[in-house]
């Protein structure tokens, strides 16, 4: 394939991945990996290497907007990163001993099941605000953010231990499969901790960069970061992430949830396809 064509396809796909990734709290690997492997014929190892760079790009690019706009909950993010980083390290150590296709089948199916609570709450603006107590109170897991029309919305997190457990699983999957596992992070915060949708997706966005950075060293050392593949991915994803972040700041929670439900279905199907040997 001619380089110019290769770079152009990859750049456009990465912009698209950055826009959607930044809105729903994913890293964009779900778009970047199949474009690289199925469309451009790139080896899956280089595709995962590029995907890790994409995740870090989406995370940092979008978070630079969200954190300034006070939508990301820094405390929730940092507390949960304890679980995602340790999970990612354990996952990376176990990767050689675990059958990845079985894992993909199990977790793809779990994601399909979590579509049910996500779809049932379509249209919901704010979750019922739980009382701040126990561990959540000690950790200060509450906050407020400015809604699109300027009104300040406050919220409290609940069930931090369940959230932490979900994040251990998300971290393990990141280390095992080389993915950002943003979908699991959003679900942990949305379903378990009952955070507003925007706070869940932007805090997931904030966290995936750290999870991906934890596995980046290994992929770099293995020689799986190909500059010709990674350069257009990084440039495209950064452009896309900033565009997506500007959209989210003005969008409403129900809109974000609808987009998340669609992306969740795509991620689940891709994982199940991957378990059947399709290189996505």
């Amino acid at each position: 394939m001619i380089v110019l064509e290769f770079v152009a396809i990859l750049l456009l796909a990465s912009i698209f991945a950055g826009v959607f990734g930044s809105i729903v709290g994913l890293g964009g690997g779900v778009v970047v990996i199949p474009v690289l492997t199925l469309l451009l014929g790139v080896n899956i190892h280089f595709a995962i290497g590029a995907s890790i760079v994409a995740i870090i790009g989406t995370s940092s690019g979008a978070a630079s907007v969200y954190v300034k706009d006070r939508i990301t909950n820094l405390r929730v993010g940092m507390f949960l990163e304890l679980a995602t980083t340790s999970g990612a390290i354990v996952g990376a150590a176990l990767a050689a001993y675990v059958d990845s296709s079985a894992l993909e089948l199990i977790f793809g199916s779990i994601l399909l099941v979590t579509l049910v609570p996500t779809v049932m709450r379509i249209g919901e603006d704010m979750p019922k605000n739980p009382e701040l107590k126990g561990l959540s109170k000690r950790l200060g897991l509450s906050g407020s953010y400015p809604e699109a029309e300027g009104r300040e919305v406050s919220y409290n997190a609940t069930r931090p231990k369940t959230g932490l457990f979900g994040m251990v699983i998300a971290g393990l999957l990141s280390g095992l499969l080389g993915i950002g596992s943003g979908a699991f992070k959003v679900i942990s915060m949305d379903v378990a901790m009952k955070l507003p949708m925007k706070v869940s997706t932007t805090t997931s966005n904030f966290m995936i960069g750290v999870t991906a950075a934890a596995s980046a060293g290994i992929y770099y050392a293995r020689g799986d970061v190909d500059p010709v593949v990674v350069a257009p991915v990084a440039l495209g994803i950064l452009i896309g992430a900033v565009i997506g972040a500007r959209f989210l700041v003005r969008a409403r929670n129900p809109t974000i949830r609808k987009i998340f439900a669609v992306v969740l279905a795509v991620v689940a199907v891709e994982m199940i396809l991957a378990s059947q040997g399709v290189a996505v």
Binding site: N43, T85, A88
Partner: protein, 133 residues
């Protein structure tokens, strides 16, 4: 320091990291385009991704510095990717100090543990055989 100020500092760390890495990767890509154009192969140069062996792009600090001194496009792109990789790490490092400035000891510990795990994972695990099996 209040939490709004903290948001603003962390936002800045992320923003400057992203802008710098974008500029460096763009420069590397530009050099690559000019060099391949100068040798008259730009349009026809084929990139057969499937034929490149797995693990072909090992980097060493010495190789990176040499490549940068010679303005090698791959090395410039690699530097940009490393800056991008360093951005979330710097963000965690900055949070340790920002929580300390707020006098929030619990979160100083939490972020310091995250930083230690992160540095262990990036700098140490590539040299442990268990992680490269």
């Amino acid at each position: 320091m209040d939490s709004g100020r903290m948001d603003s500092v962390i936002g800045d760390v992320l923003r400057y990291g992203v802008i710098l890495s974008f500029a460096v990767i763009l420069a590397g890509t530009g050099i690559l385009a000019i060099r391949s154009g100068a040798s008259g192969i730009s349009g026809a140069l084929t990139y057969n991704a499937g034929s490149i062996p797995h693990g072909n792009f090992t980097v060493s600090w010495a190789g990176l510095v040499n490549g940068l001194l010679g303005l090698q496009p791959y090395s410039v792109i690699e530097l940009g990717v490393l800056i991008l990789l360093a951005t979330p790490v710097s963000r965690v490092l900055a949070s340790v100090f920002l929580f300390a400035a707020q006098g929030d000891r619990l979160y100083v510990y939490i972020t310091a543990v995250v930083l230690a795990l992160l540095l262990f994972s990036i700098l140490v695990t590539p040299f442990i055989p268990l992680f490269n099996a």
